[in-house]
Symmetry: C2
Subunit: 194 residues, 2 copies
């Protein structure tokens, strides 16, 4: 059973992992969705509570996928605040830093998983991100200034064969968060009285 | 000393807070940037390290703003993983859930701060978010399927005067993360050998 042979063939056995990813599990999900596309429909969720001032807390407990509600094995809590210069107390990363985290995490995971499927071994991988925001937009000082990030730069350093770099660069393009940021998504917001 | 009565101008004093936000600090930043637009130029940053498999960790230590490097008062660490169905161990929220967190945190903060500037008091605020992703895109099973979120729904419940709801809905539009997702940002990615 040869799943793929690109670069280094993976001898998939019950416990075979590539880049630390259990290939039978990953390929099982891929095969299931390939055979039954509806299994790929996911709804990811978060709840957030304002804690006063610039502080708030997100709670994540589960999601919908593979035609069922799936609970995470633990509840994730994430905290946001602003630095003192933005009238906060630095009790958590600020929201736009959280966005950079989402982007870093997603491109990393996408690259590693797609590399594994192609038999590309990665020994180490790290990244640095920097994004530009002109606060005049957010603060409403100039309506012509964009309110969000205008440019984000991501530098990855990867320990892997030199001739894998071009392919790894291409694999970053599978990242859902990257695609959401570059392609945009519809966001519908309702505000109702409690 | 009347801090504000709903909708009326704020008489900022040294200790006046609205919605838990210290108004003199916030307005000081706003005024400084209004007078010297260059102070609004910010570069937010994150570093990420792959921890094997689907796990990775982001570290956030500071940013550039107001023409200087500003260190956070603590280092923030954020962890990402995938659930078992996606070949992970659920050691952290997954990247697209982190994106929902960023969005929730940002719209909440934007609404609360802009409400404060307008003298709108908010007693409580919470939100629920849900975003749709078809995994066939990420998994490369169908090139015509978008890889990112296609639609995200956000429901806010706010304890405030009923006639504030329409304004609060409008204030969500100041959120940098919301604008990044709906307007898009350029993301430049480099991959180099370690």
């Amino acid at each position: 059973m040869s799943k793929q042979t690109s670069k280094q063939p993976i001898s998939a056995t019950a416990d075979a992992t590539v880049n630390g990813i259990h290939m039978e599990t990953l390929m099982g999900t891929v095969d299931a969705i390939a055979q039954e596309p509806e299994l790929g429909q996911c709804r990811f969720r978060a709840r957030n509570a304002w804690l006063g001032g610039n502080r708030n807390r997100t709670t994540i407990t589960g999601f919908y996928g593979a035609r069922q509600e799936i609970a995470h094995q633990q509840t994730f809590e994430l905290h946001a605040d602003e630095p003192p210069i933005l009238a906060g107390n630095d009790a958590g990363a600020n929201p736009v830093e959280h966005l950079l985290n989402a982007l870093a995490a997603c491109v990393t995971t996408s690259m590693v998983a797609h590399a594994a499927v192609r038999g590309i071994r990665i020994e180490a991988l790290e990244s640095e991100l920097e994004g530009d925001i002109d606060l005049r937009g957010f603060l409403g000082l100039d309506a012509s200034v964009p309110k969000g990030f205008t440019a984000i730069r991501v530098k990855f350093r990867v320990r892997s064969d030199a001739d894998n770099m071009e392919c790894l660069q291409r694999l970053t393009g599978f990242s859902p968060v990257l695609n959401t940021i570059t392609q945009g998504a519809n966001v519908a917001i309702e505000v109702e009285k409690m």
